[in-house]
């Protein structure tokens, strides 16, 4: 009998249905809730410098998020998204990559960008849409991107980056550079058709891509229980023929180790890997929603007990790599630096109005040039109506 599948099919003579959940997918965990290494757990090979850099980024993002939510409430920026609860998942996965591995993110992964070296003022310039923003003020706050740091610019539509990551990784394989692409997305985005397209093509075309699903339990207000009926996202990887692991996303060591191993598979075997990282979204989806409208305080309390920062900090202290008092001082300094950076970024000029018309195409087309000139004349006529740009029109 011709076998169209990729594995040997055994034949049975009684009808045999496989039940949902028949395959148990465990979750890899190194640290317990307090941050102690669980007995028998495989601890990754991680040096002090890397571990502290991971912690610094986690801490930076925690403080940045806190300050910028306050800034949004004060009306200084229009929108914000925090990654409260997911700091370990994002930072430790980024830390396991090479510097020139590509990162294609969804939108809640600014920790990865910070780990790569994106500076405080660069974050601010983007959020305040000023003329120093690499994205020229065109996108909403938190839509970062930086070519130099191999971090693709965020696009609001969900899951579109997944098949793109597959294509990018195919190019990396073709170039023979031993690099990979890491693609972040949420468990909600995994419902989009692009998820299927991206993972299936990655498996068929054998690309060095790590699909990192942040299963944080919520897509805006929709709980995972209303998002899918199967065993999370991990169970799907196997259907595509993709090596898959599930990790505790609040455990920096487990995430780091899993991603290290995934990278090895991706780069050495030219094979995609799916990581399902589970870490509860402790905050709202964005500053535009209030979680009390769709989930209980009890639920938040239950999951909030597993704080990735607390756990990792405890482990670092146990190792003797971190001094609690030093940290307190550093934290205070960081808060001050962020406040100062806000004040600087918000008064930097906004991009000139011509930037509205550039980059639509590589070269400005004649019709755009005409529209730009018409608009220029109009703004000159009514300068007070366009205060952001009129002052700099010559």
């Amino acid at each position: 009998m011709l076998n169209p599948n990729n594995v040997t099919v055994s034949v049975v003579n009684q009808p045999h249905f496989i039940e949902n959940g028949a395959l148990e997918i465990p979750m890899y965990q190194v640290l317990n809730e307090q941050g102690d290494v669980i007995e028998g757990a495989q601890v990754p090979d991680i040096d002090k410098e890397t571990a502290l850099r991971i912690f610094d980024t986690m801490q930076f993002v925690r403080v940045l998020d806190d300050r910028m939510i306050a800034a949004q409430r004060q009306g200084r920026i229009s929108f914000y998204m925090q990654c409260l609860g997911e700091e370990a998942a994002i930072t430790a996965s980024a830390a396991a990559l090479g510097d020139t591995d590509m990162i294609m993110s969804q939108y809640r992964e600014h920790a990865a960008l910070h780990y790569r070296g994106f500076k405080l003022e660069q974050f601010m310039n983007q959020m305040f849409s000023n003329e120093k923003d690499l994205g020229k003020g065109r996108q909403m706050p938190i839509h970062y991107g930086c070519k130099e740091l191999y971090f693709a610019t965020v696009s609001s539509p969900l899951a579109t980056q997944i098949p793109q990551a597959t294509g990018y990784a195919y190019g990396q394989k073709l170039a023979g550079k031993k690099e990979c692409t890491l693609c972040y997305f949420g468990e909600g985005a995994a419902s989009e058709g692009d998820f299927h397209a991206g993972l299936n093509m990655a498996a068929v075309h054998k690309v060095p891509c790590i699909f990192f699903c942040r299963n944080n339990g919520y897509a805006i207000s929709t709980p995972a229980s209303e998002q899918f009926a199967g065993d999370g996202i991990a169970s799907r990887g196997l259907g595509y023929g993709i090596k898959t692991i599930r990790v505790d996303g609040s455990d920096a060591l487990a995430v780091y180790h899993a991603t290290q191993l995934a990278r090895k598979t991706a780069v050495e075997d030219n094979a995609p890997v799916l990581i399902e990282s589970c870490a509860y979204r402790l905050g709202g989806h964005s500053t535009s929603d209030d979680p009390s409208g769709y989930r209980s305080k009890d639920e938040e309390k239950q999951f909030g007990s597993s704080d990735p920062l607390v756990k990792f900090k405890h482990w670092l202290e146990q190792k003797g790599w971190l001094d609690a008092q030093d940290e307190q001082v550093k934290l205070e300094e960081l808060r001050k630096e962020i406040l100062a950076a806000v004040k600087v970024a918000e008064v930097i000029d906004k991009p000139v109005f011509e930037e509205m018309f550039t980059d639509v195409y590589a070269e400005m087309t004649p019709h755009l040039l005409e529209q730009m000139n018409e608009l220029k004349a109009h703004i000159k006529k009514y300068p007070e109506a366009y205060p952001v740009t009129s002052g700099r029109i010559v």
Partner: protein, 325 residues
Amino acid sequence: MARINMLQAINSALDITLAEHDNAVVFGEDVGIFGGVFRATSHLQEKFGRDRCFNTPLVEQGIIGFANGLAAQGSIAIAEIQFADYIFPAFDQIVNETAKFRYRSGNEFNVGSLVIRTPYGGGIAGGLYHSQSPEAYFAHTPGVKVVVPRNAYQAKGLLLAALKEPDPVIFFEPKRLYRASVGEVPEGSYELPLGKAEIVKNGEQVTVLAWGAQMEIIEKAVEMAEKDGISCEVIDLRTIAPWDFETVVQSVLKTGRLVINHEAPLSCGFGAEIAATVQEKCFLYLESPIIRVCGPDTPFPLIHEKEYMPDHLKTYEAIKRSVNY
């Protein structure tokens, strides 16, 4: 009558429909207990249960595919796409399926009981992906009707009509006006006609036309122009497909001039279709070229939102150009 905003008016239309028809179903991303990201579906799940109002997985092509199937079965399918900017994964289902269900089957099957509701448009600091006005893509697709209300009263009456319409309708809701547009709205059921433009104000010298959120913009421009002594006729197109060319043509035959305003980019925007038809039907009556005041041919920028918008000042200038040609 009660003074309510557009979200409440839409909510009321949905409420009436769910109460009247046991086979009416509301679904989309976050429309359940949360009541939608804008709260248009508030309390519907509480009132009608999870089988009648529910969250779907996050998959627009799935939402509309599901809606096509549900409507084909005979239920009233009321699908929400959270932002019009996110309707494109469902483009295939809409363009190739929704629009052609009746035609391809020789009227054996249809999805006439489908309404797709989706918030569109700029003015909320939404940048590239929470600001677009994609009505022209769908107006280019024979088989779907495209409706855009301008205020709370219109929204309820047009939505209730769309829900009774025997053809599938895409109902674009101007999200900038969701809470800003407040007015007297009857508590009960009423319908406003689809495919029929409304002359909002009579005038003699120039016809000024828009739809949806841009109506208040052109009305502001017209106020300025009238102070200059220019008599303007103001038309709300209301339905983009099929659009009411008769009302527009009659108006232009009288005024001899036409200014069209839409938020979407100029090139291939629906204004182009209107201009082409009007010049054909009113050629000898035109006193000046038809002017389109539209978004430029760029994506919708965040920081330059004000500059991008076809605002009242640009419209006012266009009205003067049209009259002084």
